[in-house]
Each structure stands twice: as C-alpha cells, then as structure tokens.
Subunit: 201 residues, 2 copies
DNA sequence: CGCGACGTTGATTTGCCTCAACGATTGTGG
DNA sequence: CCACAATCGTTGAGGCAAATCAACGTCGCG
C-alpha cells in the first residue's frame, strides 16, 4: 500500500470488480486485463482531453469526478456527461476514428483514472473475446441512457428534467456545482436557481 | 423470385451486404446467420411494437420506413428515430431486459423487415463470435450519433437543427411528412412551417 | 363530390434566456 | 490571521424563441 494514496493495486481491484459484473475472468486473464491499463492522477481542473486532440484512451474512473463538455464557437459550453466512480468516459467518436475530438474532458475533483489505448483494447478483444461482450453490454446500457435523455429533453420542461436528474443521479447532484448541472440539463444557472426556489414550497 | 414482391432470398442478401461492412462470413456462417431471422411485411401504419408489450426482436429494415416514438400521458408524442433501409430498430431497453416497452414502432410506408429474437441473437453470438463485434460496432456508431443529437438539441436553435437534419438525412426528409420531422426535431409543425417560410428567402 | 391528411398563416401566450447587480462562501497570498 | 479575489448561487427586469390555439387552403382518395 502506497503512502501517497490508493495504490495501483487497489485501482485495479476497482476495475476488476466492475468487470465482474459482466464477465468472469480467471486469475490469469484478470492480470492480463489490468496490465493493459495505465493509471493516471488528475488534479482539480486538469484536462484529460482537449478538443482538437485525438482521444487516445478509453477511460475508467476509479474515484473523483470528470465532466465532458462541448464548447461552442460563441464560447458557451454544454456538459455532455459527468463521470464518477465506475463510469467510463471518452470522446468515443474521436477514439473510434482517431480523429480530432470535439469534447473537452476535465476533472471537477481530484480524480484517479485507468486508461487503455485503442491498440491495447483491440488486442484485449482478440486475446480475451469475452471482454468484447462486456464492452458491448456497457455500450448497450449507455445507449439506452442516452436515448432516455433525448426523450426527456424533447418532452420534459425544465423543472421535470431537474427532478428526474436528482432522482437518477443523487450522488452527482450532491457534489457538483449547480451551474454545471444546469449546463447538463440544457438551461441557464439563473433559471435553475428559479426552479429550485419554486420547489421550496 | 416471388411474384408478390422481393423474395426472402433478396431480403437476406440485403442483410448480408450490410453485415459484410463489418465482418467477413463464410458461406456456411452466412447461411446460419440469416436462418435466425424471420421475414415480416408491414402495411402502412401497421405496428411493429406497441408500448407496454415486450420487445422480442431486434429489427433490420430491408426497405420502407419505420418510426419509433414515445407517447406522453398528455397524448402528445415525440419521434425518437426513423428507420429506413439498412437501419436497425427496437426498443433496446425493452429488448435487453425483456421489460415492457415505452416506445411504439410503426410503418410510415409499406415495409419489409427481418427480425431476430433475443434467444437467437445470444445463440448467434455464441456460435459466431465475430457477430458480437458487428453489433458492438453498430452500437458504437449509434451511440455516437445519439450523443451528437444530444449536443445539437442542447445548443442549436430550431432552424439549425432543421438544416442539419436535411443535410444528414436527405433520404428521410424527402419521404416523411413534415409534421413527423418536426416531432423528431423537438418542435411544433407550425413552427417548422414558419422556419421553412423564412428559409425561402 | 366530400372527407381526411397535411401544410400554412396569424394572434396571443409562455417558458426560458440575457443582462446586470448583489450576497455568501471559499481559498489564497501577504 | 486577515484581506481580497474568485467562485458560486440568488434575484429581478426585460426580451425573444417557440408553443398554443384557431382558422384556412390544398391536395389525394374513397
């Protein structure tokens, strides 16, 4: 155990615990699996990815909190995703095609992540095919969540979207600033504040 | 070749052509692959899935056009997806968990589809593992498209969303009624009409 | 022909944004 | 340990994009 914080071993066990929800790995497979990831520590506000760069890694969050956001030419920005413990994040389009990213990803808290390169991920699929199943399942869940979000954005007014967010992500709503949540929900911080006032009664 | 329309053989070749974009199948594998699908013909306005039912199939569109939409308690509805030739559709959440669907799917035109049951899909993954790769890749692309749609909905005004839609789906915008497109884009038909008038100059 | 589906137009309303100013809290350097 | 800046949330006035409601025109079709 490392004095300076959680050891890499503990990081790995966090990732393996996650994987075990989807697939069973032998001791040997598990070791190979985690060996393809590299650990990285982020300070608050440090970037994991900047728009324009190529997204080289798929990222697993061990602890802390990241945000992925899109910056418009006008300068305003919109949060696409929060990622806390046990979440994955990346600019999937950039990662998949190895093209410049349109998303920025940075840390809202000091954060530990494990990252895997595209090459290694392809290698992993090849060496341990059932890992491909895991990623397919993860993607399925993420896709469903995105679809639900599209539906909500289409038909729910601001207050309902906020209430749904509170219910769905209680662990996120308690740790990230309200302005960030407003951005995620597609409204201004001022308006979210007004909504909260109305909810007080 | 069947007198009453495209033969099942041609349907299958359409599906195999699609699959070949992602993976290579031997003759034998290809035959097994398509044998797991059943063909179905839909009349205009016929339902493929109704909310509340369990979504038993993943559906590949051979020709025609489907829409997947969500109906609110108030009665208003929102189109989540159009599916034309070479697209897949389902209520993925319902299919995945075998829980009641929240989406309705029906035909905007007479439509031919090929459907695979969950059991057979799982069997397919097992017998021909590379098919799992294909579905993972399809999902990745769909996920990316959904993410882009979320971004667009968050930051683009109605007119830009409409223009982006025209550019992205020219083959859809020419065949489905404008009111349907308005629903997909999250605006009223009246407002879309106004936008089109403004674009006339 | 007459009905239903579809698109258009205009008047009015409203949900949400913009802009600007003002507390409260945090944190950081002197 | 204090002072000051930065961050964060709140409040209010005014404006705009888009919804609502209602009426009307135009097809295609039974």
């Amino acid at each position: 155990m490392c004095i300076l914080g959680q050891s890499v071993l503990l990081m790995h066990s966090s990732l393996l615990a996650y994987a075990s929800r989807y697939i069973d790995l032998t001791q040997e497979e598990a070791e190979y699996f985690v060996s393809l990831f590299r650990h990285r520590k982020l300070l608050k506000r440090q970037f994991l990815l900047q728009a324009g760069d190529i997204c080289r890694y798929e990222t697993f969050v061990v602890n802390g909190c990241l945000r992925a956001y899109f910056v418009e030419p006008s300068g305003s920005f919109h949060i696409v995703q929060f990622a806390v413990e046990d979440w994955w994040t990346s600019d999937l389009n950039s990662f998949w095609n190895q093209t410049p990213a349109i998303l920025n990803i940075d840390a809202l808290e000091p954060t530990d992540v494990l990252q895997i390169e595209k090459e290694n991920l392809d290698r992993l699929y090849k060496e341990i095919p059932k890992t491909e199943r895991m990623f397919r399942m993860m993607l399925t869940k993420a896709f469903i969540a995105h679809q639900q979000r599209i539906i909500d954005n289409l038909c729910k007014p601001a207050m309902e979207r906020y209430l749904a967010f509170l219910e769905k992500y209680p662990n996120i709503s308690q740790r990230v600033p309200q302005a960030q949540i407003a951005s995620y929900l597609g409204m201004t911080p001022e308006f979210l504040s007004q909504i909260r006032r109305n909810l007080m009664r």
